[in-house]
Structures are given as C-alpha cells and as structure tokens.
C-alpha cells in the first residue's frame, strides 16, 4: 500500500481548474500580499508572463508592448519565489481518528495540496515534521522533484510522541532566517499560552503564519455514552468516566481552550483555520484561500 500523501486526483484536478476567484485568491496570497521586500533593489530579471487584471502596471514591460503589442509583466527572482514552510505535527494525538481518516492523514493531504499549489506557481516550499522535536526538515525548493521529496518525507511520518509545539516552533524560528510563510498543521493540543508565545516569536522573525487546526468530529462532539475508559495516545494515565455525565464539562474545557487559542492567534496576527477530518479537503482549501 502506498504511503504517499493522499492528494486525491480529483482534488488536484479541481485545484488545477480553480475558479477565477479562487485562483485570484491564491495569487493574491502568494504574490500580492507576500511581495518581496527586495523589490526594486537590484533584483534579477527572471522571465515574462501574461498580464492579468490586478497586476501592478509598474511591472508592465513597455518595450515588449511597443514591439509586439502584447501585455507582458516582468518577473523577478525574489517576487516569484515565496518561501513557505509546511510544519506538520506528527505527535501521538494526530494519530486519532477512524482508520483511513486520522488527523495525521488529513494533515498530510492538506500539506500535499498546499505544497502542490505553491510549486505549481513556482513558489518555494519546505517541510518540517515534529512531535517532541523536529523529526525532519527539508528547506524550501520550487521544483517538482523537490515537491516529490516533500511527499516522500511526509509519507514517512508516523504518529509518535507527545505534542510540544512551543519548543519546536522556537527551534524553527531560529532556522527560518528569511522572510517567509509558515503553514502550521496541528491539532494544537498543547498549552495554548506557550503555543501563542511561540507563534509570536515566529511573527517576530518575520514569518507569516497560518495555523490549520485539525480536529476529529468526536473531539468536538464527545459522542460517548455510559461508562468509558479513555486511553491516551501520548502516554497519559487511563481515565474512567461516565461519559454522559462529563460531556458538558469536557465541552466546556475544550471550548475554553479554543477560545484562548483563537484570541492568542488574533493577537499574534496568525490566521487560525479549524478543519474537521470529515470535511472535504477542497472545501477546506477553498475556505482557507478565500479567507485570505
């Protein structure tokens, strides 16, 4: 059985034929909003591309227009190479979910789709997997062969130890010296205060951060009933509860955690996107890109 992350063909096909709005949104995110800080400073010319509505007219190549009567935009090296790093949580809790649709599997698919989008438009994309520490780190690259390496690295990731988001993000902040985009895919089952501090550090290091929180529907609904023994996936003690009678308390604790996380992300300028593993991946992508 192949362990290559499941970027379903239909997802790729649908991504490839994204509607104009979605395509604009992608390009707005990746080209418009992450404009190179080196713009106008001895930037090396790379190539031309077709003008599209919304392009900055300052980059229109007037010489080409004069000679060929075609609207061409000049492209420079730094502007076309957004440096994105996908940070994928491979802790034990990410292994939760029904067979074939665990949170980790959903996260891999999401990461593969995002990576594909970026490589397809010549952006650089890297990968970091972690649990208690960074397990694998691939620097950003923009070629399809690099993308395949990313897929291969993702396929090797397995649910492992406890979740320790804060130290891992601090370590990554040290490694990511150039301005870029961090796509953090995790369930965020960690201390929300430390997590927010780590996100702020990333922001301080001039990284634009987007947090994709992957949740199983049962973690939201708590559908158990009767006496139940809960066995943790990260070596927590086993707990026996009457599920009916703690449902409200659980939901309350969970809601408080989510509220803290949301507020922290807002304060740190991090966009939080909550994804359920029973959602369609395309829907998630579309929602994420549109929200930008």
């Amino acid at each position: 059985m192949s362990t290559v992350p499941a970027v379903q063909p239909e997802v790729l096909a649908r991504l490839g034929s994204l509607s104009l709005t979605a395509r604009q949104a992608v390009e707005s995110i990746l080209a418009g909003q992450h404009r190179s800080v080196h713009h106008g400073l001895s930037i090396e010319f790379a190539d031309h591309r077709e003008y599209q509505p919304g392009d900055d007219l300052r980059h229109l190549d007037w010489l080409v227009l004069a000679r060929s009567d075609r609207y061409q935009i000049r492209r420079y090296e730094e502007e076309t190479r957004l440096r994105a790093t996908i940070v994928l949580d491979c802790s034990g809790s990410m292994g939760y979910g029904k067979t074939g649709s665990t949170k980790l599997e959903f996260g891999r698919s999401l990461a593969a789709a995002l990576g594909y989008l970026m490589v397809r438009q010549n952006d650089s994309v890297g990968l970091a997997t972690f649990d208690t520490e960074v397990r694998e780190f691939l620097p950003p690259g923009s070629t399809m062969s690099h993308y395949l390496h990313l897929l291969d690295a993702m396929s090797r990731s397995q649910p492992g130890e406890e979740t320790r988001l804060a130290p891992v993000l601090e370590e990554l902040a040290g490694r990511l010296r150039r301005r870029g985009l961090v796509l953090l895919i995790t369930d965020a089952f960690d201390d929300s205060t430390a997590l927010v501090q780590a996100l702020k550090l990333l922001r301080y290091r001039k990284q634009d951060v987007r947090l994709f929180q992957i949740l199983d529907p049962r973690e939201l609904d708590f559908p158990f009933s009767g006496m139940t023994e809960f066995v943790g996936l990260e070596h927590e003690p086993r707990l026996k509860f009457d599920a009916d009678r703690i449902r409200t308390h659980y939901r309350q604790e969970f809601a408080e955690h989510q509220a803290r996380l949301k507020a922290g992300c807002h304060a740190a300028g991090v966009q939080l996107e909550v994804c359920r593993t029973d959602e369609d991946l395309f829907t998630v992508l579309g929602r994420a890109l549109a929200a930008r």
Partner: protein
C-alpha cells in the same frame, strides 16, 4: 414496632444493588483511544472532589430509595399503646386478618321458613360489617376444605355479596378440620390482627369431640406461645357465630341401603335392607318408604320409628341380567326439618357369577384335596346355582395367563410357585384382584417369606413364623359381625365356633405386627391371628393361618365354615375399582379406554351432559369428571357395555342428626370464654367499636421513597446539565 410480612425482610438485601451495579459496571467498561486527554485531565484536576462527593450522595439516595421500598413491603407497624380494652373487651391489632370459616355442611339446609344457612349468612355479614378498609378477609367453606382457597381480599362489599350468594353443600361437617384449614389460611394474610370466625349451625355431628388428640393439637395451635397476645397471628382470636336453633329438630333420614351379600348375581333373588333413623322425640308410626331400581319403583313399605330410634324395611328384587344398577330408597310425603336426607341411593354391579380360581396344592381329588371343602362350600352344585363360578386347577396346571379370567384366586397349601407366577400374582393383586391364601403342612415359612413376602414388598400379607400346635388346640373367637366378610353370621357370630378345634396353625414373624396396613379380622381364642387382610395396590389379600381343609382343624365340618369362606371370597371379589359410590365433592373415575368412533359419554342426575376428560388413575387410562357436589345418580355410557354404568353420590348419614351442641360446648371447645354470638346485633355491638392498637407506616415509607426518587432525578439532571456536578466513577488509573 412489629413487621407484618417479615418473610420479605430479604428484600433489604437489594439495598446493595446500586453498589453491585457500580462494581459490575466497572468490570464491563470497554476502553477507547482518545487524543484530547488533556481536557479530561484538566477537568478532573479541577473538579475531582466535588464530583466524588456528588457521586457518593447519588449512590446514597439510590440506596435510600430501595431501602424505603423494601421496608414498606415488610409492613412495619408501630404499637402506640399497650393492649387496652374497649368497652366490649375486644382489641384488634391494627388492620385485621379475618378468616371466615363457613360451615356449609348438609345439616345447614335444615329449617322451616328459613334454613340455618340463611341465618348463618346474616351473622357472617354482620361480622363483615364490623371490619373497615384495610382489613383483609378470606372465606373458607366446609365444602372447600382440602382445595385451594382464594387469596385474602380487601373488597368487603364483594366479600359480603359472595357470602350472601353462597348455597349450602352436601358435605359432612368437620369443625376441627375447618379450624385447621382456617389456621393454614391465616398464613396467607399480612395484617397483624388475626381472627378466626367460625360460622356454624351448631349441630353436634361435625364437632367430633371424640377425636381428643386432634382437638388438643388444635387448641395448642390456637393458643400459640404463652407470650402471644390474643388476636395476633401467634394467638388468633376465635369467634363463634351460631344462629339460635330449636332445641331439637325432628328429622327422619334414610341412613343406608344394604344388599344381603357381597356378590349380587343375575337371576337370583336378592334382599336389600333400607335403614331409617328418627332424630327427635316424636313417634313416627308409619313412615312410607319407596324402593326403586334404576328409577323404577319396585316396592313400598311403611316403617314404624320410635323416638330417636331406628327402623328398617326389607325389599327383594331379582335382576334379570347382569350389569350396573342404581338402587334408591325414598321417604314418601315426609315433611321434616331436613329434606336432603329423605332419599339415598346405592350403585351396585350385578354379575352372572363371581369367577373364582382355586389352585390346589394337592393332586388328590374330592374332599381329600387341599381345597375340596372350600369348593363345595362355594358351589355345592345342584339346582339353583351359586353366585360363585368355581374352577379348580392343580399347581402344575396353574399358569399366569389364567389370572385374567378370575376376580378371586385361592391358594390352598401351595408349597412354592414359579418366579414368573409370583410376579404375575403380584401384578394381579395390585391391579385390583382378590387373593385368599390358606396354609397347611406343605408350607415352608422360609421359602414363603423369601419368595412371596419379601419384607412386605410381595403379595403375601405378612412374614410367617413357625407352625404351632397347642396341646389343647385353639378355636376361632372374637368374630366381628360388622366386618363385611362376616355379615352373613348376623347375630349368631358369637357362638358360631364353640365346638370347633384347630390343632395347628402358623404364627406370624415378630416384624409382621409392626405393619400398619395389616388388619386382623379373626383371631384364635389365644389371641393369635387366624384371618388377616392387607390392601395391596387396588386389590386385597386375605390370609388364613391354618388349613382350609381338615388337615389341621375341623373347621370344614363346622356349619360356620360355609358362611366364613363365602364371606371371605365374596368380599375379595366384591370390590369394584374405581368406586362407584361416592361422597359429595368426589369425581367419577371410569378406568376404561374408549374405542375410536365410540366415545364414552356421561349424564348428570338431571339428564344433562356430564363433561369427562381423559386422564389416568393408578397407572391406568381413565375418564374423569369434575368433582360432583350434589347427591344423585350419574350415568356413563360406554359403547362396549350393554347397560349404562351408574355412579351414585350420597351424602354422609351423620349430617341427619340435628342435635345442637350445647352453648357450653360451643364456648369451651377450644378454650374457656370463646365469644359466641347468636344474633347480628350482638356481633355489631361487640366488634364494631373494637379498639386497634397499632398503625402501619408503609405509606410514609413509600412517600419517602417517592421523595428520594424526585431527589435522585433532580441530582441526575443537574449532573447531566453540567450546572455544577459531574461524575467521576473511578479513580484515574495508570496505563
């Protein structure tokens, strides 16, 4: 504090049910993987104590619910005062358990304008009027003793209606038996107060004062332990309700219809004695008695009866053909206090002759054989015939296959039998056959005890000792002329054997005297048994301990020999099983198998169809009716039998004696001072204001249980709503 149904104390064990359920639940928990453990851990860390406390409270509330319900079922009652006495001296212990003992025997039908039974019912209803809601009542009728009785009821109006609708039965009264049944029924009651109310017509026959040991046991049970208060389950209060009756009530009854012999044969004239009894001090100079055979009058005679005296009328009849007959005697135009005993019937079976098989232990013929005298005594030959159809076989000719054709078998000084023949004889007797065994010089006691008696398991009635030959000989003595076998002797029984001499006989082994089913019907003058009887299954075996010929005695030369052996053989062959003369309340049993397409049907005395069901009786297929409460003649039609088979239900003649028990006996029979009430107003005055000294608290307990249920519901909902409480069912466990 007392508990009315302490047997239900075991229900308190259910209090542990919530704990057991909790523990069982813990065993059956299935584990699930869970990622978001940190939220559960945080929740537990913050609310653990509160959750545990609430869980414990919930557990206690649930246990309290069960405890309240279990205690309510035990029905505790608080005694709020010492036993005090009301004006009438009756103290009831809280709610009363009353067992109404209604003696609805035949004598209660007696009376002129109103029967005694109607007056008894009024007294019973007056008593029921002194009870109140919560009191429970059982009604036990004399005719129901021995049958299942309905559970106690609380609907006093329905019970009153049931009493008023009751009709007297035809059963014989048995007051001690009715009281015993009442004590048994009290066990089905739950209320603390206990009263037995004997409603009787006060006739003496049913009280059975002669059964002293039975009355002593009854008194012991009624009094209970010395510490028991009167009117409680341990010492039930007995009240006697007996309507006033005339000092004596004149009554003439037919007490019996008796044939003159055990075996009735067709074509031979038979005599029947109709016995009458006059109760009361009135002289009846001419009481007309009609005699009927199968409903057809065949004679009428007038009988003179002295005051409190007896009389009889003799009728003769010749039955043209064998079969089942019903004889009936009726008093014509008799107007006394009790009409139910003015007729009496008897079912008889007329045979062409009683088939008797003689097995002779000696090959010699005539009077020199072992049973030669007996054969001539049973069937001397000559004109007129004999009721006994006798066949003699030698020991060598005797085969088990012969048994099916004879009602009686006689063994005369037979030394030994083949084992297969012994088995066949045992089956023959158990199945209803009659067997007469005569001994003699050929008998080996050891062999007999080993093969025929077998410690009481075989057909032989008793283990034998050695042969005895007293120097001066012995002779029969002590003949009881009331025994059916000796009925033919009549008044001459006493001197019948004065010139007889028995030289030798066998004594019985010592262990034989310990058998309770052995009846000595004739003894020698030295006290040793001469003739014994023992029932074996459905049949009867008689043993003559000396010879039936002249080897050891001169009995065959005595005139009494003929009635002796005819009586014995006739008795052995006279039993028709199952019986056809029944008492009220007994069912008809007809032990036959219906052929396909030829059903066996029944009719009651009014000609209506009598339902019969197929069943079994003593291991045989049989048809059975329901219990028949009413005297009369019932018919069964079997296509295999030419004449209908007649069954007779006849009441006990003892009920005809309408002699009231004295008031002294009514109040002293159980214990001195037993309250006796003869009128309804006396009952009401004595009991309607009786005080009650305890109060049940089961209602409060049930109210408490309902309150705890509401509390439990509130706590559960509150926990589920998550307002403040949760439930930690178990401590966290390390993986």
């Amino acid at each position: 504090m007392e508990f009315l149904t302490p047997i239900l104390f075991g229900g308190l064990a259910l209090v542990s049910a919530p704990i057991l359920l909790h523990l069982l639940h813990r065993r059956n928990i299935k584990p699930v993987d869970w990622a978001a453990m940190r939220f559960l851990i945080e929740m537990m860390t913050r609310k653990r104590r509160r959750l545990l406390l609430n869980e414990l409270l919930l557990l206690l509330v649930r246990m309290a619910i069960i405890a309240c319900i279990a205690l309510a079922m035990v029905r505790p009652a608080l005694k709020h005062a010492a036993d005090g006495a009301s004006g009438a001296g009756i103290v009831r212990h809280g709610p009363t358990a009353a067992v109404l003992l209604l003696d609805d025997c035949l004598s209660t039908q007696a009376g002129r304008a109103q029967s005694s039974f109607e007056n008894m019912k009024r007294l019973a209803v007056a008593y029921l009027g002194t009870l109140r809601a919560g009191d429970e009542v059982s009604v036990v009728r004399m005719s129901q003793v021995g049958q299942a009785v309905a559970d106690p009821g609380f609907d006093l109006e329905a019970i009153k209606a049931g009493v008023l609708a009751a009709r007297p039965s035809f059963v014989a009264s048995d007051v001690p038996g009715l009281l015993e049944a009442g004590l048994g029924q009290l066990k089905h009651h739950a209320n603390p107060g206990a009263e037995l109310i004997l409603v009787t017509d006060g006739m003496g026959n049913g009280w059975r004062f002669g059964e002293i040991s039975r009355w002593e046991e009854l008194r012991r049970r009624l009094r209970g332990p010395a510490s028991a208060a009167a009117g409680t389950k341990e010492h039930p209060r007995l009240l006697v309700l007996c309507p006033e009756t005339p000092e004596t009530m004149r009554n003439i009854a037919i007490t019996a219809v008796t044939p003159d012999r055990s075996i009735l044969t067709s074509g031979m004239e038979s005599s029947f004695k109709v016995s009458l009894k006059s109760h009361g001090n009135t002289v009846a100079t001419s009481v007309p008695v009609q005699f009927l055979v199968d409903g057809r009058a065949v004679g009428q005679k007038a009988v003179a009866l002295p005051p409190d005296g007896e009389g009889e009328a003799l009728f003769t009849h010749t039955f043209a053909e064998p079969g089942s007959y019903a004889l009936e005697a009726r008093l014509v135009d008799n107007h006394d206090f009790l009409g139910a005993d003015d007729q009496r019937a008897l079912a008889i079976q007329v045979e062409p002759g009683l088939p008797v098989l003689l097995v002779d232990g000696n090959e010699r013929a005539g009077l020199r054989s072992k049973l030669g005298f007996l054969r001539y005594a049973l069937d001397p030959g000559g004109p007129g015939g004999s009721p006994f159809k006798v066949t003699t076989v030698s020991l060598a000719q005797f085969a088990p296959s012969l048994l099916a054709n004879y009602r009686v078998v006689v063994l005369g000084d037979v030394r030994a039998l083949e084992p297969a023949t012994v088995d066949a004889l045992e089956r023959y007797v158990v199945g209803g056959g009659g067997l007469l065994v005569g001994l003699g010089p050929e008998i080996n006691p050891g062999l007999i005890n080993r093969a025929w008696s077998r410690g009481g398991e075989g057909f032989f009635p008793a283990a034998l000792g050695n042969a005895t030959s007293p120097p001066k000989g012995v002779r029969p003595a002590g003949m009881n002329s009331t025994h059916p076998a000796f009925a033919g002797f009549g008044a001459q029984a006493e001197g019948a054997w004065k010139s007889a001499a028995v030289k030798s006989y066998f004594g019985l082994a010592p262990e034989a005297g310990q058998r309770g089913d052995l009846e000595v019907v004739l003894k020698y003058d030295n006290g040793d048994p001469m003739v014994l009887e023992r029932r074996r299954g459905l049949g009867l075996v008689a043993l003559v301990t000396t010879s039936l010929n002249a080897d050891w005695n001169d009995l065959p030369l005595q005139p009494a020999y003929v009635p002796l052996v005819r009586g014995l053989v006739g008795r052995l062959g006279s039993f028709i099983m199952p019986p056809r003369n029944l008492l009220p309340g007994e069912p008809i049993i007809y032990a036959q198998v219906a052929e396909p397409g030829h059903p066996i049907t029944g009719e009651d005395q009014a000609g209506k169809p009598l339902p019969l069901v197929a069943g079994g009786w003593e291991g045989r297929d049989a048809f059975l009716s329901e219990a028949l409460p009413t005297p009369g003649i019932y018919l069964l039609r079997d296509p295999k039998v030419p004449k209908p088979i007649r069954f007779v239900v006849a009441a006990s003649p003892g009920e005809s004696q309408l002699q009231p028990v004295t008031e002294h006996d009514l109040t002293q029979a159980v214990e001195p001072g037993t309250p006796l009430y003869r009128r309804g107003d006396q009952v009401t005055a004595a009991l309607a204001t009786a005080s009650r000294n305890s109060v049940e608290i089961w209602k409060w307990l049930l109210a408490g249980a309902i309150g705890f249920i509401f509390l439990e519901t509130w706590m559960t909902r509150r926990a589920a709503a998550g307002a403040a409480m949760g439930a930690v069912v178990g401590e966290p466990e390390k993986a």
